[in-house]
Structure formats: C-alpha cells, structure tokens
C-alpha cells in the first residue's frame, strides 16, 4: 500500500506542478521596474508618477500589450537618494527584471546611468536597459551619455529654449531661483546662455540656489525677491520646493509673474490657487486642454479617461504615454525583453504622441526629440486643474526642428550592436 500512496502522490504533485506552471506561463506579464521616491519629501511625486505611468501602461495593455503579454509595473523605493536607487536596482535585477524605468531626480538618474552601465559590464548575460522618463539634466545625454540609457523627455536645454523663445517682449527683469543640484544648476546655466543669445534686453536682477527638498518655509525669500524689483520669477523648482514657494509667495502677497518649469505638476495648481491666476506660466509637453484647443478628439478622450480614474491632478507628462507606446513597439520588434535587442529596437524609433505629433528617439544620444510648449494658468478653460477653477492654455510653442540641438555624445557601443 505505501508504494501505491507514494506513486499517487508523485503523479498528483507532478500534475499540479505542470498545471500551475502552464497557468503561470499563460498569465506571465512583462515586468517593468519603476524606481522612484515613495517616502520622504518627494513621496507625493513618486506616487503621482506611478499613477500616470499605470494609466499610460493600461492604455497599451488594452491594445494587447506586446507579444500577447501585458506589461506590469513593479515599484522600488529610492527615497530620492542615489545610494538607495542602486540598492533598488540590485533588487530589481534579483527579480530578473530587464527593463528599468525611473527619472525622479537628475542626481539619482546620473547614479543610475553609471550603475546600470557597470552592472551590464559585469553581467553580460543579464543586462538591463534604463528608461528615463523625467530626469532632465543635459549631462545624461551628453557627458554622461550611455548606450543603455534612454531619455524619454525633452532635456533642460530644450525646455529652457522653449521658455526663452516664449518670453513675452515686455519682460525686462527676471529673478532666477533653482534647486542646488545637477538639474537646477543646468537650468540656470542654460537660462543665462539663451537669454544672452536671444534676449539681451532682459536683465537678471537676482539669482538663488536652494537646497533640494530641505526648505519648508520660503517666506524668507519673499522680501528678497520683492526688493530686487524683478518683473518675473524664473524658477525650475519642482515638487515640494515649488508648492511651498508658491504658498509663501501667496501668503506674502508677492505681485510678480511666475515663469516656471513645474507649475503644472501635482500639487502646483493647488499651491498657486488664485495667486497664480494670469500670473503663472509653465513650460510643458502638453496639458489637459490641448486636445480641445487643437480639435484633437483622440487627445480629448485620453484626458477624459485620465480624469475618470479619479486622479486629483492633471496628466501633463504626455511623454509617459509615448514611452509606453515606444516600449511596446520595441519589445515587439525585439521579440522579447532582452536588453540589447530592446535597446537596438528603441534607437531611432518614431512614434506619435497623444496629440499626433511625431516624436523621435535619436540614435546618437538616446534623447527624445519632441515639440514643446508654454502655457498660462488662466480661466475659463474646459478642464480646470486640481479643482482650482483655473487651468492651462497654450501660449507659445517650439517645434521638433526648433528644439533639435546637435548631439554631443561619445557613446561606447557594446559588441554586437
């Protein structure tokens, strides 16, 4: 009898394993790691990015995903610290995930580019590809450019160029405020360069660098800005540094124009409130009203779908959708998730963004080329932002050729590419 029981047990166990195995294979998703801050001062941004990326991913999955499989996001907390991001990278590679998304904090992204490059050198059989959706420093596609890094958003130079091109003619004095790290310093440098080249009539009456995410009370800066008599505050502060700056500006009754790079991000419109109405301008790749402005029904439906998810903020990073579209196309072309094949498929890929405008992933430096816009915070508009009653309306734009600067990347290509 015991041998019968043993035989039965073996059969049952193997059947179970096979069935379970096939079930797992049938449902197997394409895992994509998302490394971002989910705690600390920038937790709100990590949370917002995740919601937006998930919506964009669901749109791609609804069309079938890639190779008959759906995508799945697996999150890792990097606390916006480079050291933690590298630990998260290790955790992601331990789970055999070969596609890493990230991009909150250019300092973290810079560490990740280097970390991924070193990891790929040491593990040629388990390489990963790093998709940067929002870390904007020029260096990442210039001095620090790397074959395994792809940036899916206009970099600092493209954004500053859009801003300076769209600066109204009557603005003659500006006060610069930026965060004191790779990104903010890059914005300040490019701002001075483009103002010098294109708008020599504009005077920089003050400049400020603030520590990243540390200042909780900006009211000390308000009298300084007021005393400089600047017509406009040009700031690339983002996240809590922007929201708290606006809070202090409103409390102090600062009457100034805000030319920003991040007023449209989560929490920005609420922080500005009425104080930002007809005063604030943002440089962005899109906003919720652009579909209606251009008569683009598909774009408008996309916005409707986003708002239907119950999100409390706008979806301005339309490049997140472009990223997923490009990734799905690349995985399909590569026939799998092998990092080298996906990277080769991504080079030079072209796709239309949510508004039907062509975006190109340039092969020389892995920088996305796209058009960019400036928008004012005004009313009335079809979709208001964060229930403030105010919303975005496009003011100016720069086309893809306008923003195609010569590449400056000495990329070492891996063998077999």
């Amino acid at each position: 009898m015991p041998w019968l029981v043993r035989r039965l047990a073996t059969v049952v166990l193997s059947l179970g394993l096979i069935m379970g195995g096939t079930a797992a294979i049938a449902q197997e998703t394409i895992k994509v790691a998302f490394i971002a801050p989910f705690s600390g001062a920038f937790a709100a941004n990590g949370d917002a990015w995740l919601k937006m990326l998930t919506y964009a991913m669901n749109n791609v999955n609804a069309r079938g995903g890639a190779l008959g499989r759906k995508f799945e996001l697996v999150t890792f907390d990097d606390k916006i610290q480079p050291a933690e991001a590298l630990i998260a990278l290790k955790a992601a590679t331990d789970q055999n995930i070969s596609i890493i998304m990230g991009g909150i904090g250019s300092n973290v992204a810079a560490a990740m580019v280097e970390g991924v490059s070193k990891y790929n050198q040491r593990n040629p059989r388990n390489r990963v590809v790093y998709l940067n959706v929002s870390a904007l420093s020029n260096e990442l596609t210039e001095e620090k450019c790397d074959f395994w890094h792809f940036r899916f958003s206009a970099n600092v130079r493209m954004r500053v160029a859009t801003m300076v091109k769209g600066l109204p003619a009557d603005v003659k004095s500006v006060y610069l405020m930026n965060q004191d790290y790779l990104y903010g310093q890059g914005v300040a440098a490019d701002t001075k360069r483009f103002l010098g080249e294109w708008r020599p009539d504009v005077k920089i009456v003050g400049e400020e660098f603030i520590p990243l995410g540390k200042i909780k009370d900006f009211s000390s800066y308000v009298p300084k800005i007021k005393a400089s008599d600047a017509q406009a505050l040009l700031t690339s502060n983002w996240g809590p540094d922007f929201n708290l700056l606006m809070k202090a500006g409103n409390e102090g009754g600062l009457d100034i124009k805000y030319y920003t790079f991040s007023a449209h991000l989560n929490g920005g419109p609420r922080a500005m409130g009425d104080g930002g109405g007809n005063r604030a301008l943002a440089v962005l790749e899109g906003h919720d009203n652009m579909g209606e402005e251009t008569g683009n029904q598909a774009a408008d439906n996309w916005v409707k779908g986003w708002r239907a998810t119950g999100a409390e903020f706008d979806f301005p990073w339309v490049n997140f959708q472009t990223t997923w579209d490009m990734l799905a196309a690349a995985v399909t072309k590569a026939g799998g998730t092998d990092a080298l094949k996906v990277a080769l498929a991504l080079e030079g890929i072209e796709a239309n963004d949510v508004y039907g405008k062509k975006n190109v992933m340039r092969k020389e430096d892995h920088q996305l080329l796209q058009p960019f816009y400036t928008a004012v915070f005004t009313k009335p508009v079809k979709y208001d932002s964060e229930k403030t009653g105010w919303g975005w309306k496009t003011q100016s734009g720069a086309s893809l050729p306008d923003l195609t600067f010569p590449p400056n990347c000495n990329m070492k290509r891996p063998s077999g590419s």
Binding site: A41, A43, S220
Partner: protein, 315 residues
C-alpha cells in the same frame, strides 16, 4: 532695510517654535539625563493628532486636546519604558528613546501614509495681519508668537511660583538631595517628561500647518532641536531661549546674505585665494550653506565652551 525687519520677524517666529520644542527637551535632559531622541517624534504625533481633531471638531479644541494626548503618551513612555531602563544606565535609556523614534515614525507612516496631509491654517486666522513694505505678515504667525509667549510665561510662573516648580528646579541640579529630603522624585520625573512631551505636542499643533505635516517632519526638525539644546546649555531654560532665537535668526537671515564667508573675511583684511579647497568652501555664498550654519555653530560651541551659553552642567 525691509528685508532685515521682515527676516527679524520671521526669524523670531521660527525661533519661538524651536524654543517650544527645545524647552521640553532641555528640561527632560537636565533633570533625568535622558536625551530623548523621540522628542521630535512626539512633535510629529502632536501635528497629526491636531490634524485629525481639527477635521472632527475644529482647530481651537485641537490646541488643547493634542498637547494633552502627547503628555499622556509621554507619561506612558516614562512609567512603562524609561523607569524600567533607568537602572541600566543612560545609554540604555538613550537607545530606548532612539528605537522609540523609529517606531513612532513608522507608525505614523502606516496610519496616515507617506504623503503630506492637508493640515491647514484655520480660515479664521488666515489673513494678513499687517503689510510691511508690500509684504504681508500672516496673522497666523502672530498667533504662533502669542501661543509661544503664553507658554513661556506659563512655564516661568509654574517653575518659580508653585511648589512643584520649586521641586523641579531643585531636581534639575541636585536630584539626589531632593530625593533625600523625601520628595517623590520618580513622580517628579514623570511629570516633567509628560510636561516636556506636552510642550512638544503643542509645538506640533502650531508648527504642523506652519510647515508641512508629513512623516519626514520629525527627522527634519530633530537635529536642529538638538543643536539648540547643546548650544544653549543644559540645565538652563534661559540659555535654551537665547539659543532658539539665535538659531532661528541665523537660519532665516542666512537666506538673505548673498556674500560669501571669504568676502566677509576680506572685509577685515584677510584674503583667501580660491585655488585650494578651503578657499572654494569659503567662497560659497552664505545663502547656499545656510542650513549648515547651526551645526557649525554647535561644533564651535562644543570646542570652545562645552557647557553651552548659559549651561550649569557640562555636556
């Protein structure tokens, strides 16, 4: 000139907030020798409890209830935690409060999440009190000053005019003698610890909507409070007050100072070239190293006068 006046006001407000936090910590440290690492955590609990109460009942009830809740938590910590570790020495007590801080931080994250909560200034206090050179001074800051001043007066009256206050003052410097005279020193310890935590809770109610109420607020303010306590000296509330105002002013004024340390040294006839590391560090404008200055001050104080400004015991 306008900048100086406004920064003076803002620095004073921030200094008073620091004093509310640091006074409790100084009292606890002076009397019990326990450096309460969890003090900033109690501050955070005060802010979150005030947020919840202000949602349910209103802001002004929260002003009374939240500090009481924090005092109760403090008493519980003292009776069931610190008293047990007391005979293991100061290090054990320190480690206990250190671990407590992490538990509090994680607990807050688990209950309220990682994102900031919308704890706002009550509408009745949300207006500009006066306008100075075109910049508004919010009424809420005036209210903060009022509460802090009232608290300062209350502590001073209690310490100097009541019997328990006299016992506390004596225990600050001579706990063994007080115990030998027959007073219930353990009970005094519990009262002081609970009182200190209550003060931290009050600071949380006031400071939570002045700054941002989020799980990292304790870690952000904790180190500065220690700087204030060390700088002002142990065993001295007066020193604590002076130190809080100084640190508050330094942090607020640092923002407006656009010259660098080497420029200031140049003013007194010392020039340092920027070719070496020291020169590079000194040529950074003070505004950019503002957050560093209080810690620099603390290090200098420990080097040259370890007992602090007005301290009566060595650190």
């Amino acid at each position: 000139m306008e900048i100086i006046l406004i920064s003076l006001l803002n620095g004073f407000v921030y200094g008073m907030l620091l004093f509310m936090l640091a006074s409790g910590l100084t009292l606890i440290f002076s009397m019990m020798g326990v450096l309460n690492f969890a003090h900033a955590g109690i501050y955070m609990i005060g802010a979150y409890v005030a947020f919840e109460i202000s949602r349910l009942v209103g802001y002004f009830p929260a002003l009374f209830i939240a500090p009481l809740v924090c005092a109760a938590i403090g008493a519980a910590i003292e009776v069931w935690g610190l008293r047990r570790t007391h005979h293991n020495g100061h290090i054990a007590e320190l480690l206990f409060t250190f671990g407590l801080f992490f538990i509090i931080e994680r607990g807050v994250q688990m209950i309220w999440g990682m994102l900031p909560v919308p704890y706002r200034v009550p509408a009745v206090l949300d207006f500009p009190l006066f306008t100075l050179y075109g910049i508004n001074f919010p009424a809420y800051r005036g209210f903060m000053l009022l509460v802090a001043a009232g608290m300062l007066l209350g502590i001073w009256l209690m310490l100097t005019r009541t019997r328990i206050g006299l016992i506390i003052q004596a225990s600050l410097t001579h706990p063994n003698m007080v115990s030998a005279l027959g007073h219930n020193v353990p009970r005094v310890f519990t009262i002081v610890f609970a009182g200190g935590c209550g003060l931290a809770g009050l600071a949380g109610v006031i400071g939570g909507n002045y700054q941002v109420t989020e799980p990292s607020m304790a870690a952000a303010l904790g180190p500065i409070v220690f700087v204030v306590v060390v700088f002002g000296g142990l065993g001295s509330l007066g020193g604590c007050f002076v130190a809080s105002i100084i640190v508050g002013m330094v942090q607020t004024f640092a923002v407006v100072v656009d010259v660098s340390l080497s420029d200031m040294l140049g003013g007194i006839g010392t020039w340092i070239g920027t070719k070496n590391l020291l020169g590079e560090i000194l040529s950074v404008p003070v505004a950019r190293i503002g957050p560093l200055l209080p810690y620099l001050m603390m290090v200098l104080m420990l080097l040259f006068r370890p007992r602090g400004l007005l301290g009566t015991r060595d650190t």
